[in-house]
């Protein structure tokens, strides 16, 4: 290797190294830091008797919304409220007794299965139990 060639490579590599060492902290600064969140598997979603028949409530389940429904027959059902299509928050339509996503008109039955619209998968259903005064919603094993 000639001396000139060596100097070119050495200076080029040094320049690239300097540039990378300047860029690295900027990139790490811009990228969001990883958030450690406690995994919530069980939560008190409402008070017993809080929901009238054929109504619903959105509750906070960890960092995502969940939906608790009291059906016309008075049965409780809970699901993830995040639509499987593009993550909008669903609602319960009392006249059709279905779960509806207003963003792209996705519709689910009260088992969480897709009835119509673009959602590619059912919404996750949760276990519901009443413990004393509380309606407890938990993730199914």
């Amino acid at each position: 290797m000639r001396r000139r060639q060596f100097v070119d490579i050495f200076l080029g590599a040094s320049l690239m190294g300097t540039f990378a060492s300047l860029l690295y902290p900027v990139v790490r600064y811009i990228l969001p830091r990883k958030q450690v969140e406690a995994v919530v598997k069980r939560i008190s979603a409402a008070k017993a008797g809080e929901l009238a028949p054929n109504s619903y409530k959105i509750f906070k389940f960890g960092s995502a919304p969940g939906i608790l429904i009291n059906t016309k027959e008075g049965e409780l059902a809970a699901f993830s409220a995040v639509c499987t299509h593009l993550a909008c928050t669903v609602l319960y339509e009392s006249d059709t007794e279905t779960i509806f996503c207003p963003c792209h008109n996705g519709r689910f039955d009260l088992s969480g299965n897709v009835i119509s619209g673009p959602p590619p998968a059912p919404i996750e259903s949760y276990k519901v139990e009443i413990l004393g005064e509380e309606i407890i919603v938990s993730k199914k094993a």
Binding site: Q35, P65, A81, C88, T89, H104, P118
Partner: protein
């Protein structure tokens, strides 16, 4: 006074060479033909961008980019600050009109085949400006932190998240985490007032330099020798100015009679409101995502639609290099029809979104 002005202009001219610039503008000619009208939309885009910059700087004085205070600060601007409603309404209305005018400018450029050699890079830089201004619209929409903007952001970023391989990383970068959180709003604000303006200045600079150095394109099939021309300065500039004033009056009327609303404060744990839709310029994509089945040939419908939009946009950017006939100054009906079909699709689906919200 006259002497002072003469001396001052002579002083400045000897230092900044202003007369050379004026000479260039006087010597520059604009082709005159039955489609010359469409030339003015580029200038209107520039004018609306200037309005965006001025009103945006004014809004910075009172806007507070945090989840706790953003909605309240916008409410304060609209209800308490003198003429705050006007400044914000001008910002919002002119932003919407700007996107509309960019679309008009782009399709008129496309149909007149003004992208052909040597103006390929003018087209490509214009394409990037369209993307930047759509990003301006998307990031600015969240800043008031209301229900509509919250869900539009959730859907929009989830669309980014469905892009294979890089989607999740892109979504996390935009949102400042895996989901919309307290970190999202400052990030959108940062994009809206710092990063996107920086890109705009660079790419708009390139676009304008190319437009000025290459001049306006004349339509296909018109021989250069037979083409009539008129001076850029003052004739074209004065007509351009007239267009700017008309748009300015339109914005004034819209702001007075339809001031921009504030909406309801975003609640991260509430259902999306019925009838929700994004800003009008995203509705053709929004409704396409509604109409596409959940699966098409085992591929998720939404992924297919989004990949289709990405590939379509990429091909749109490459049109000057694909349209070989136009490059040889020959007619290219395939590209004309393709452009018309795309334009028709955008118009029909956008109108249907408003006329038939339940589709």
């Amino acid at each position: 006074m006259k002497k002072f002005i003469k001396n001052a202009s002579s002083y400045l001219d000897s230092r900044f060479k202003l007369s050379a610039l004026l000479d260039f503008a006087r010597k520059k000619k604009v082709p005159e033909h039955e489609y010359s009208f469409w030339y003015y939309f580029g200038g209107i885009c520039l004018f609306l961008f200037i309005i965006q910059v001025i009103t945006g700087i004014l809004l910075l004085l009172y806007y507070s980019p945090s989840v706790e205070t953003a909605y309240e600060s916008v409410h304060f601007i609209m209800s308490q600050v003198k003429f705050g409603w006007l400044i914000r309404s001008v910002h919002s209305w002119s932003a919407n009109i700007l996107i509309g005018v960019i679309f008009i400018h782009m399709f008129s450029t496309f149909l007149l085949k003004a992208y052909r050699s040597p103006r390929e890079l003018t087209w490509v830089s214009g394409f990037f400006l369209l993307l930047i201004f759509l990003a301006f619209g998307f990031s600015g929409y969240l800043l008031p932190w209301n229900t509509l903007s919250f869900f539009a952001t959730r859907v929009g970023t989830d669309i980014a998240g469905t892009v294979p391989l890089i989607g999740k990383a892109v979504k996390a970068f935009i949102l400042g985490g895996p989901e919309i959180s307290d970190a999202t709003l400052p990030r959108f604000f940062w994009l809206h007032v710092a990063i996107l303006p920086l890109f705009t200045v660079v790419i708009l600079g390139i676009h304008l330099v190319l437009v000025q150095t290459l001049g306006m394109s004349s339509p296909l099939g018109i021989e250069k020798a037979k083409l009539r021309e008129f001076p850029f300065f003052p004739n074209f500039i004065l007509k351009d100015f007239l267009g700017w004033m008309l748009i300015f009056v339109l914005i004034g009327i819209l702001c007075v009679f339809f001031p921009w609303g504030v909406g309801q404060k975003a609640d991260l744990f509430a259902s999306a409101p019925v009838g929700i839709k994004p800003e009008w310029y995203f509705t053709f994509m929004f409704t396409t995502l509604k109409l596409i089945p959940s699966h098409v040939f085992l591929i998720k419908g939404e992924v297919l639609a989004i990949l289709g939009f990405i590939v379509g946009a990429f091909l749109w950017m490459l049109v000057p290099f694909l349209d070989k006939n136009a490059a040889r100054e020959k007619k290219s009906p395939f590209f004309t029809w393709a452009g018309l079909v795309i334009l028709l699709y955008i118009i029909v689906v956008t109108v249907l979104t408003y006329l038939l919200p339940k589709i």
